[in-house]
Symmetry: C2
Subunit: 154 residues, 2 copies
C-alpha cells in the first residue's frame, strides 16, 4: 500500500481523537492537494448543535476556501470512517479525485455498507481506497461507544 495513504490517514486519526476528547463520535478527515493539507475537520455535531458538522464537511469547506474554488479536482480526502450520504454527496459536488477511508459504517456508510452510491450514475466518480488503518479507526470508535455506555451506567 502507498505509504502516503498511512501518513495522511494518521493525520485524519489525529483529527478523530480531537472529537473523542470532546465526547463527539470520533471521526476525522483531511483534504490533501499537492501533498499539502488544505482542509481538516473532526465531527462536532454535539458541540455545535449542527447536523452538518461532520468531519468531511468541515474539511471540504476549508479546502474550498483555501483554493477559492468549488472544484477540488486534484484533491484527495482521507476519512477515518466510511462517509454517509451527505458527505459522499459533498465529495461528488466538489469533484474530489480520490476517497481514502478507514473503517466501515454499517449504519450510514454509502460506499458499500448501507449501499454503494456509485452503483448509480452521477456526474463524478472518485477513485475509492478502503480499509486504510481500519483497525486503528474502528478501535477508537469502539472505545468511544464503550466509554459512552459506561458513563450512562454511572
Amino acid at each position: 500500500m502507498d505509504l502516503k495513504f498511512e501518513k495522511y490517514m494518521n493525520l485524519a486519526l489525529i483529527e478523530a481523537r480531537k472529537a473523542y476528547d470532546l465526547n463527539e463520535v470520533p471521526v476525522g478527515a483531511v483534504v490533501v492537494y499537492k501533498d499539502n493539507i488544505i482542509g481538516s475537520g473532526f465531527n462536532k455535531r454535539e458541540i455545535t448543535n449542527n447536523a452538518l458538522a461532520h468531519a468531511e464537511i468541515i474539511a471540504i469547506n476549508e479546502a474550498c476556501k483555501n483554493l477559492n474554488s468549488w472544484r477540488l479536482i486534484d484533491c484527495d480526502i482521507y476519512i477515518t470512517l466510511e462517509p454517509c450520504p451527505m458527505c459522499v454527496g459533498a465529495i461528488i459536488n466538489s469533484r474530489i479525485k480520490k476517497i481514502i477511508y478507514g473503517a466501515q459504517d454499517f449504519k450510514s456508510g454509502s460506499l458499500g455498507s448501507v449501499f454503494n452510491i456509485f452503483d448509480f450514475k452521477f456526474n463524478h466518480k472518485p477513485e475509492i481506497i478502503s480499509g486504510v488503518l481500519e483497525t486503528k479507526s474502528a478501535s477508537l470508535l469502539k472505545d468511544f461507544f464503550s466509554k459512552l455506555r459506561l458513563d450512562k451506567l454511572k
Copy 2:
C-alpha cells in the same frame, strides 16, 4: 393539495429567483417549524466558490442555529428542485420530518430520478411530497439555462 404547501413553495421560489438574479442555477429552499420560516437559502455555489453552498444546506444550517439543535425533528423543508445526495443526506442527518419539492432533477435527484435513497435503510425516513408548483420551478430553471446558452453565443 394542502394550501400550506403552495404558500411555502412560493417562498422557496422567491429564494430561487435570488439565485437566478445572481447567475446561479436557480434553486431555493425554506425550513418551516410551527408555521415559521426558521431557515432559508438559495444556491450560491459560484459566488461563494463553495461546493457545499446549495440552497438546502444554507437553509438547514440556519435552522440548526435558530433552534440551537442538530435535530430538526418537527421541521419540514420546501425545495424548488429534487435534492442531490448531499442535501438528502443533510435532511436525513437533521431528522427533518417532511420534504416537499417541486421539479425533478434527472442529473442529481436522489428521490427517484437518479435513484431513490429511501430504497435503502437509513435511521431516518422523512415523508416526501413531490411536484408542488413543479411547473413554476422547472420554468425558472429552463429560462436560466436558455439564458446561459444565449450568453455563451454572444
